[in-house]
Subunit: 362 residues, 4 copies
């Protein structure tokens, strides 16, 4: 329940920062899908800390091992279990923090809920848990590509108050990965990198916005009531650590338009399909995809772990001042890009299968 995501394309995640490893079981992936392990590893490498000068320096190999579900490069229709080993199995560095509730972390709520100090690197609230998502999302992405040529591309759209201009219709992963900050607007990317470095040196951190598009989605994905495609996308990305907001299509900006300005006029096309003149709907109408690009924006707060001293309390309720030691990750946004792609891809894969179930029998 708590650790599974999806209905038919369904992942179950496990692992803390300091146990034997973290991993995921992907259940429901159809049989006979060619699945490249190298592609899964590549997505994990994009998520990994320590990729560049602007992220956390902790070096983790994060080598994925496939335990089941795959034979001779093709899926069997059985659960695909993947595990990434932890280097350090015992909590250590965190011992000092164990007695102190880090502000805006999960330490205090975890204690309230489970009656346990999540010594193991933040328990399940650890960023390392996202390995499971990215690995599961990598399978979903290969499925989407195989079936309909669906592409899911995310990018860093905003860091602090620096806002990039990105065209969802054309942006490519190559453009995104061209800069370490994963912003395809090169000029703004440079400013972002400089800002992150400067703020990181002050021991502080920054947030921002990740944009994401899914292109070539067929019309018909999503359900009309509770499981609207945008509702499932919202849950998916809002389950990522540090997220504070979600938009589909026109988002909050759309609230300032009139209906006559916001409505997407339908256009007749020569091939009989229906297109829309604009895409304020973000590719979804009435909860169901309409064939236009699905466009999503996700707000990430500034990283909670900073080196600047902060007022807080310890587990006994006494006031203390906390200052994290060592280096920290001043901006999680570049590493959040593959996470958002993974969550969006898994929602689409799930709805592809749901659509197949409900509407392909006769």
């Amino acid at each position: 329940m708590a650790s599974s995501f999806g209905t038919l394309f369904r992942i179950t995640s496990f692992g803390e920062s300091h146990g034997g490893g973290v991993g995921v079981v992907v259940d429901g992936c159809p049989p006979r899908l060619p699945l490249a392990v190298a592609g899964i590893q590549a997505d994990l490498d994009r998520r990994r800390p320590g990729q560049s000068a602007i992220t956390t320096p902790r070096q983790e190999a994060d080598q994925v091992e496939i335990l089941s579900g795959l034979l001779d490069g093709v899926t069997l229709g059985t659960p695909i279990a993947m595990v990434v080993r932890n280097k350090d199995q015992r909590p250590g560095d965190y011992s000092a923090m164990a007695r102190t509730f880090r502000p805006s972390h999960a330490d205090a709520t975890y204690q309230a809920k489970y009656g346990i100090q999540a010594r193991s690197g933040g328990g399940r609230a650890s960023a390392r848990e996202t390995i499971a998502r990215v690995a599961g999302g990598a399978v979903a992405r290969q499925l989407l590509r195989h079936v309909h040529g669906i592409e899911v591309v995310a990018w860093v759209e905003q860091v602090h108050d620096l806002v990039a201009r990105v065209d969802p219709a054309t942006v490519s992963t190559a453009q995104v990965d061209a800069t370490v900050v994963r912003c395809p607007d090169v000029a703004v990317a440079e400013s972002m990198i400089a800002r992150i470095k400067a703020v990181g040196q002050e021991g502080d951190s920054l947030g921002g916005v990740v944009g994401c598009v899914a292109r070539h989605c067929p019309a018909g994905l999503g359900m009309p009531v509770f499981d609207k495609l945008e509702a499932d996308l919202a849950k998916a990305v809002m389950s990522l650590p540090a997220t504070k907001g979600f938009e589909i299509g026109s988002g909050f900006a759309g609230t300032r338009l009139r209906g006559s300005e916001h409505n997407d006029a339908f256009l007749a096309t020569t091939d009989g399909s229906i297109r829309t003149a604009t895409n304020n709907s973000g590719g979804i109408q009435g909860g169901i995809s309409n064939g236009e690009p699905v466009t999503v924006r996700v707000a990430f707060k500034p990283t909670a772990t900073i080196r600047k001293p902060q007022n807080t309390v310890d587990a006994s309720g006494a006031s203390v001042v906390l200052a994290a030691k060592g280096r920290h990750d001043p901006c999680v946004l570049p590493r959040a890009v593959p996470m958002v792609e993974a969550m969006v891809a898994m929602v689409l894969a799930d709805h592809l299968l749901l659509q197949q179930a409900q509407c392909s029998l006769f």
Copy 2:
């Protein structure tokens, strides 16, 4: 699957605009809860069209009938089935529209998915479907109040570019319902009403933002990974018709702060509980409630149905100009207030039960 919401506190919704009726089955509500039918009806009355000069004129009685689950004013622990009869069982007024895809409505996507023209008042995409949500939410609200005195209050915070100032710590339903636009900032409320009337007379429509707070939530609600409290809240409200965005706590504005500005410092209190100095977290940290007010914002696009002529296509793919006849609802925001409250309340009720399951056994 498609028509159920929640895990342990779970509703199943049914009904189109023009069948026998719309309704809901609430499953999982604990036994021996005093449940006032008058309270359910009151919530439904707040959702109903035709309440005031600024909403749709269609008069619907929307009288709820309880079919099961209640005896002598107390729940039995069995499913609570509620139904609201439709007045007009047959599609009629919609016949002209039946051949035309209304822009930014579900007509075209519903046709693509189901191969059926949703003549019945938009099929499940009808606003009338939200009766089920409000009735289910009314049960959840009475449960929350009974158990922990939890209050869920929503209000209209923005219409078009008119933004109200509302204090989530103190705002009451009485203040919200004091104006027909359900904005507790009286001065701004007057401007909103004038704006809605003016734009409505032009045959156009407006969107805006609904704010919502849940006060007195105990710490510990929510799950650390996929079923984070904010993720389930996001799905809940993004499944409402016409929503385009969701925020928890600081939301998109929080992306422009530094970590040192955004982190909520923990405070020692005299009673041993832990509070935070600020509430950028919106009452949730690491996916789990921390005891502070849970604060949510929801973006609604301007209503898709307008009287102004629009370019569109019909089911045969030919270009046509559509102008809706009769009156329309120029702004759905006031009626969206009880809908948002209902969805938030059901998520909290579900997590109360989940928390009970996982953490109360020993």
Copy 3:
């Protein structure tokens, strides 16, 4: 959770004996299925008490009303809500029993679980709850027939120690319904009817076995691990009131064979399909249907309600003697026939959709 059954073809049941009514919401039925309400009513009529001299005399019309999901005789793909009104909304006859726990009824366990006396005709444990199942099953049966010509036929195979001989390969509903006891072996049927009458006049009751076959199931339905087809069938029929046992294929008798006797040899056929020489497997191997008839047997205990005086206790824990007044139903088996068909049909419909989801995408 508690009141829903199925994954993709999913029903949600509601209603007590003495509230407003009992009903069901069928979610997940594909759109554009021709659905005959007369067929649903016919299945309900076979379940209804008072059909013949050997069943309970309580006369209930049990007229079904379709509230949603159907337009012009065709499904919309939306939830199909059906309700059957109760005649008597208030508990009455049961008041005397309200203070006494009827032996082998749910009275005592319901009190232990819910802290409520299920005055309303046994709460959810009422036989009237099976209306929801039969109505949902009727939809499933029409779906199965439409898609693959799948037929589900059940019959009374044993009453007390009277055992009929029935050929699952050929038995028809017409043969089953030819006698009031619903046993297609006419000679044994007469003995059964006489036995039921005699025992009923003594104020006692009888149990027995219902057999069921599903013919023309395609190969491939069912999952290899937990959701094996026989596992889901077992849960389905063991959720019917008064069931004590379940068998697939050779059942308990198969435990007395050797492997060389029990294994079903595969046969080559001229059309390239694979058949088996025998069907000890009951049409399922490794949890997945193999194309042979699916054969099930279900044990029903003798009805718990009898007129003979019985020792029991009341809610205060004091010993009392209970003798039910009026007439009773001496043998539930004939009415159980449509219930078993309904449960089996719903499991097959669900697995048809699941199979479609997992194995039809490419």
Copy 4:
């Protein structure tokens, strides 16, 4: 979906015979449960092939590794992931069989469903998959013991036509494990062992019945409608490989009693609790446990793999004669004992949590 079992206490299973390993993720186990890894390993050792002269000779170490969810011998409330490595990662011995459908195995149905030859030791239909169940069940058993002192004990009750006499009220695991055939009736056990050896030497196999009791279950577990305790138990054990039948309480034999003979009279007790004079109900009434021992019987067919030559077809549809090489397991019953215990324990654990959710809030 396909590879998960349970609602709140939920396991997800993965692994084929010849991939990297088989394993399980246990989700929903409450935090702060003392969990002994030695106890899990002990249960796995009882399931392992090669324990005695009468089981399959294949020697597997089956050493469990805990990857997550446990710290310092106490559960964290997070998923408990466990993996058992496979010795041989590549299919080999099975290559000859790969082209032939083994009678009453899953080979043909797996091919029909997935379009893949389950070369990997029968795919998910491998007996090795039950490692996941036994490991998950071991966690459930420790939870049950910790909370209510609930004991789950299973035994071999019948092999071929040899039937043991066992008292569910008193039978202990020590008595069960005293003989290699796991039958606590010592005299019958000797006959069973002799029969298994003799039939095994002929290259043939035997089936039988496993009995199981759960003692000290509190009243109140189970749901009144679909998720009746006996329904969930039936699904649980009927999902085990080679099962053909299920009984609760009086089972099929109960169908030959009259109501006056079958009903369990309630008894007043001195401590105010309610007991029953007999236990034909098998500890469950109306789907809900009543505090009496829960008694279950499970029919297992004779093992499908035999050395005797059998008629079958190959993947091309041609008739062939198959004779398995090497040694085989002539009777799976002794190893099925821990499997049945595991499945029963997991159902009870799940219902304990469900009961907590629905009935402990106020």
